[in-house]
Each structure stands twice: as structure tokens, then as C-alpha cells.
Amino acid sequence: MGDEVDSYRFTSRATTRIARAWIKREADPARLIPWTPLTKPLSESTIALISSAGVALKEDRPFDQQGERQNPWRGDPSFRVASNQTTTEDIQVGHLHINKRYAEQDMNSVFPIQRLGELAEQGEMGRAAAEHYSIMGYILDPTELLRETVPQIIAGLRAGEVDGVVLVPV
């Protein structure tokens, strides 16, 4: 066991092979990496969370799993909003590629809204954003996600005067 994280510690052989093929295709060392430095100390920054676990409020529309069962190449590219008061009791998980049991037992395993609130209360960071966002991470063709969903989330981050974003892929 080295000091570096093994990206394939928990993947099957088939998944590893697919991941390596996609990585080879996607990697482009010449591509410019966008960069926005955090201009305030963490203790004054507002932080929002984005989870790809397919978390929706129970009162909200669940992520569309039936559509993916009908067309397994297409996952639901929409998003859902949670608040900084949302708890595990409030949510449902719609994601056919993870074991949902863990998130249903404790949302913080994939969407750490309570943990973020506690760190803010303890003064370790400025403020938890009023809104946090979830998408469902199985998206093979990102066209619609990038065209429809991401601009709406970005508008929400702006409206919430967010400084920093923690993305939690699952």
C-alpha cells in the first residue's frame, strides 16, 4: 500500500478496463485547466456541496430510473436542490450504479450537509451555502448535462454568493 490512492481498489476488472479506456481517450495534457483561486480565508468563505449520488428530496421528483432501464445508455441528466437543513429522513436516492443502502442509511456518506454545517458552526469555515445540489453521476453523453443542468446550478451558486464548491463523486 503506497501513499497514493489506488483508483481501482474497489472496482471490478470490467469496470477497471472501461475506466482505463475512457481515461486514455479523455486525458489531454495540452488542455488548459480553469482556475479561480479562493480569495478569502476558508473561515470567511461560503461553501456549497454537489453530490453525484442522485439525491432528491422525498417531496421532489425522483431521478428517472425507469428511463435508464428503457435506454441503458442514457442516465437522467437533471439536478435536484437540497437545503442546508436537509437530513437523511428527507431524501430518496435514485442511482442504479451504486449500492444506495449506505446513502439511505446516512446521507452524509455521499452528501455531507450535516458535517458541513457543523464545521461552519465550529468556525472552521465561513458559512454553509443555503442550497446544495445533486446530479446522478451515470451520464455517458454529457451534452444535456452541460447545456441544461450546469448553467442552472451555476446560477444558483451565484445567487447564493458561494465562494467554494466541494464536488462529491460516488
Binding site: 501513499d3 497514493e4 490512492v5 489506488d6 483508483s7 481498489r9 472496482t11 478496463r17 472501461i18 475506466a19 479506456a21 475512457w22 479523455e26 486525458a27 485547466i33 480553469p34 482556475w35 479561480t36 483561486p37 479562493l38 476558508l42 454537489i50 453525484s52 449520488a53 435508464e68 441503458p72 445508455w73 442504479l96 451504486i98 449500492n99 443502502r101 449506505y102 446513502a103 446516512d106 456518506s109 455521499v110 455531507p112 458535517r115 458541513l116 464545521l119 472552521e124 446530479i135 451515470y138 455517458l140 454529457p142 448535462l145 452541460l146 450546469v150 446550478i153 451555476i154 451558486l157 458561494v162 465562494d163 467554494g164 464548491v165 466541494v166 464536488l167 462529491v168 463523486p169 460516488v170
Partner: protein, 115 residues
């Protein structure tokens, strides 16, 4: 999520991915990664492990504030101490490919059929 992160950073937010698959996340060309060797579906930590979840989130926020070089991967020092994760049911794409094995090549090649 890597492409989503790029869009947000370009829109003026400082972003970090807490990724259990840092090689894949990095391939998208993202500004900051906190790499974590946790199983899928439990990226932050085991259900109910408040102390562990807090430590991981705290380390991620520290990396967000401290990383100065675009494209940096910070490997977090946490190791999985929980039970080996249980897999969920096979997703529809796996069932489809087991019925039509020739489609595996399409998935491998990223040749995604239009809806």
C-alpha cells in the same frame, strides 16, 4: 463530474472534487482533486461515522484553500477501515451487455448510441 467541475471553476468558483477515482477525475482536466481511497457509495465515509466523515471533509476543505497549482491531486491519508462494501444490483447497462456482448466494444470505445 470532472466536466461539471471545470464549468464551475471557469464560472468563478473555487472547486475541488473529493474523488475515489482520481485518475478518471484528473483525465477531465480539473483544477483540484482530493483523492480518497473509499468505496463507491461511501465517498465521505461509513454511515454514522461522524468523526471519520468530519475528518475527510475538513481535509478536503483544507486542500481547497491550500492547493496553488492547477491540476493538483492531493492524496488524502485515510484508508478504508470499514467492512468490504457490498455491490448493489447490476445496472441496466451491465444487463444489456450480458444479453448483447458485442455492445461492450461500443461502451469501451465511448460510442454512445443517440437516444
Amino acid at each position: 463530474m470532472g466536466l461539471v467541475q471545470r464549468e464551475m471553476e471557469a464560472a468563478g468558483f473555487s472547486t475541488i472534487s473529493l474523488s475515489p477515482m482520481p485518475e478518471w477525475t484528473a483525465a477531465a482536466g480539473v483544477p483540484r482533486i482530493a483523492a480518497i481511497e473509499h468505496p463507491f457509495g461511501q465517498t465521505i465515509g461509513r454511515p454514522g461515522d461522524v468523526a471519520g466523515q468530519t475528518a475527510v471533509l475538513r481535509a478536503t476543505l483544507a486542500a481547497l484553500a491550500e492547493i496553488e497549482e492547477p491540476g493538483t491531486i492531493r492524496h488524502l491519508p485515510f484508508r478504508w477501515t470499514g467492512p468490504e462494501p457490498e455491490e448493489g444490483p447490476a445496472p441496466p447497462i451491465v444487463e444489456l451487455i450480458s444479453r448483447r456482448p458485442w455492445l461492450y466494444r461500443k461502451l469501451l470505445a465511448g460510442d454512445i448510441p443517440a437516444a
